[in-house]
């Protein structure tokens, strides 16, 4: 069976996997973004707290993903929970780091001006600091998403959802006539998804970065 025949036969299954893959990554990214930006906002003003947040999240990233999921299975069981937890944790680092860098990079004279004209602390953050730090934060989100696309494939090891299942099935049945097709379909599917997400982020950037600071 050629690769194209394989795709034709299995497109139903592949689309479901792709959708679940994208959906898992997307939802984890939303959670990671909220948590990551919140961590950034809470820690960026203090030298040590910011460094602690960056170090902690980068430590998480150094744990091999297979090991992380393996460690989570005894705690939260198989399936979706270990996938979501692992993906969210891995997604944090680029967002936290870019949020801290972005917020610290806001021109201090602008923060001074914001306070000076009578903005409350919340207004300073919401109207001045976060909008100005948004471009680097969005870059962090993009990097995170690319990374999670690959890591999400490992989730199949814990019976999680997504295109990883294709890859694992192919690897498990190496030598059979469809093994290569399965691995290839899963891998290419992830690449296509990653490219689609990236295109979406370009669009999001166009829509959300104010014209005055767009480069």
């Amino acid at each position: 069976m050629s690769f194209w025949e394989y795709l034709g036969n299995r497109h139903q299954q592949l689309l479901t996997d792709a959708f679940q893959h994208a959906s898992a990554v997307f939802q984890c990214m939303v959670v990671a973004t909220v948590v990551g930006v919140a961590l950034g906002v809470v820690t960026y003003r203090s030298e040590w707290a910011g460094n602690l947040a960056t170090t902690a999240t980068s430590t998480i990233l150094t744990i091999p993903s297979l090991a992380m999921i393996g460690l989570l299975i005894p705690v939260v069981g198989l399936g979706v929970p270990p996938t979501v937890i692992a993906l969210t944790l891995y997604g944090l680092l680029p967002i936290v780091r870019n949020a801290i860098v972005g917020l610290r990079g806001v021109d201090p004279s602008l923060v001074d001006a914001a306070r000076g004209i009578g903005m409350s602390r919340v207004a300073q953050l919401a109207r001045v600091e976060l909008p100005l730090a948004w471009p680097p934060i969005l870059t962090g989100i993009r990097v995170s998403t690319q990374m999670l696309m690959g890591i999400a494939a490992i989730a199949a090891y814990a019976s999680g959802p997504g295109l990883g299942n294709e890859i694992f099935r192919g690897i498990a049945s190496l030598g059979s006539k469809n093994a290569l097709n399965q691995v290839l379909a899963g891998t290419l599917g992830i690449i296509v998804l990653a490219l689609l997400f990236d295109a979406a982020y370009v669009l999001v950037g166009r829509l959300t970065i104010p014209r005055g600071i767009r480069v």
Binding site: S109, L110, R115, G116, G212
Partner: protein
């Protein structure tokens, strides 16, 4: 609060002190001053003298560790700083405009926060742009990065004034623009202040800027100690001590010339004739005038030529060829410095003064200029000595401790 302007409010600082934890000396030590409503006061001093810190304590961007602040008689030392700052305009160096907001959004920020209705905000933005000399139609929707430095600074001032605060704090607002633009902005600020009568506190390290803008200047030394707080005239002619005279720099008398206009000095009348007068009359005037020289005016009574005795003879009676063209004139609004410049470059040492449409009004020459300057400096000196005397007798009544050192110094000078 009226739609157009609310005039200034007094600012009283009483024993204002800022002590940073871990540093043995206070950054600002016990500053007391009273600023009158509608007055422009300049804080000037070397870098790191605490002038900016003192300014930022007025709107409590920096919380004072001691002392009181009263604005318009109301003690604001303990009120909610966010509410306080919405009542005080604040303009800083490099404009502080938010780059992600349009010019209009920037200006509308404070009125929006104070809860003005949208229609009033819209009208106010147009009004403010107009006030700072920017065309609302053209600049309304621009982003700060699409503006020149000077334009950004204007928008910064417009934003500071948008909610019509009685007090305006300016922290080296013109420090980052080129000298020509700075000069324009200073002129604009003077014009604005003539219209608005806000209380302005302005920080700079440029003494010439201080002289140009200030009704009164506070020369600050380290830890914001007030070395002298007085009118520019008094500081120039009678600096309180070596620190102040060092800061005033060389050429105090020359700088003083910037503070007086031609209208304030004596303008001498000169014999004049008009181009369409008959030649005989011109001859007669020349002969009868004691000055050896008369001024020929054109048909619209503007200075045209200087005529000396003998000029007409040499030109064989032709007015077109006789005499020397008037190269330079000054208006009554020109500073004495401009007048001096014109007199010095004129080879006969005099310059014609003209009115609004260029018509002849009189002549200033070297002698009148010198006499006026001497009188001015002398008057300044007397006034300053008198003011100092008053101040010292007031102090003597207040404390006995301070009386010793200061009193001696004052008497020595008097």
């Amino acid at each position: 609060m009226s739609e157009t302007t609310s005039a200034g409010a007094t600012i009283e600082l009483e024993g204002l002190t800022k002590r940073y934890p871990g540093s043995p000396r206070p950054a600002v030590d016990n500053v007391s001053m009273e600023i009158k409503a509608g007055e422009t006061v300049i804080f000037v001093g070397p870098s790191g003298c605490g002038k900016s810190t003192t300014l930022k304590m007025i709107n409590r961007l920096i919380e004072p560790t001691g002392g009181r602040i009263r604005i318009g008689g109301e003690d604001v030392t303990d009120m909610d700083p966010v509410k306080l700052r919405r009542r005080i305009g604040y303009a800083i160096q490099s404009s502080g405009l938010f780059p992600h907001m349009t010019v209009a959004q920037n200006i509308a920020l404070v009125p929006r926060m104070t809860g003005w209705p949208a229609s009033r905000i819209k009208a106010r933005v147009e009004e403010m742009l107009d006030l700072v000399g920017l065309d609302p139609g053209e600049f309304h929707d621009r982003y700060p990065r699409q503006l020149s430095g000077g334009q950004q600074q204007r928008v910064g001032v417009a934003r500071a004034l948008a909610a019509d605060p009685p007090v305006l704090l300016m922290d080296e607002p013109f420090g980052a623009v080129d000298p020509i633009t700075r000069d324009h902005l200073q002129d604009e600020l003077i014009r604005l202040q003539h219209e608005l009568h806000k209380t302005i506190v302005f920080v700079t390290h440029d003494f010439d800027e201080a002289i140009k803008l200030g009704d009164r200047i506070a020369v600050l030394r380290e830890r914001s100690h007030i070395a002298q707080f007085d009118t520019p005239e008094a500081i120039l002619t009678n600096p309180a001590d070596d620190f102040v005279s060092g800061f005033v720099g060389a050429g105090a008398a020359l700088k003083r010339l910037n503070l007086t206009r031609v209208r304030n000095v004596e303008i001498t009348d000169y014999p004049t004739v008009a181009v369409d007068d008959p030649l005989q009359e011109i001859f007669n005037k020349l002969r009868s005038s004691g000055t050896n020289e008369i001024l020929l005016l054109d048909k619209r009574r503007r200075p045209y030529k200087w005529l000396r005795r003998g000029d007409l003879m040499r030109a064989r009676g032709s007015l077109a060829r006789a005499g020397t063209l008037v190269s330079d004139t000054v208006t009554r609004d020109a500073t004495l410095r401009d007048a001096l410049e014109a007199v010095l470059t004129d080879n006969a040492g005099r310059v014609a003064v003209t009115g609004r449409r260029g018509e002849y009004e009189g002549v200033v020459d070297m002698e009148t200029l010198m006499n006026s300057v001497h009188e001015l400096l002398e008057a300044d000196r007397l006034e300053a000595v008198e003011a100092q005397h008053d101040l010292e007798s007031a102090r003597t009544e207040l404390t006995h401790a301070e009386q010793e050192g200061d009193g001696e110094r004052g008497e020595a000078r008097a």
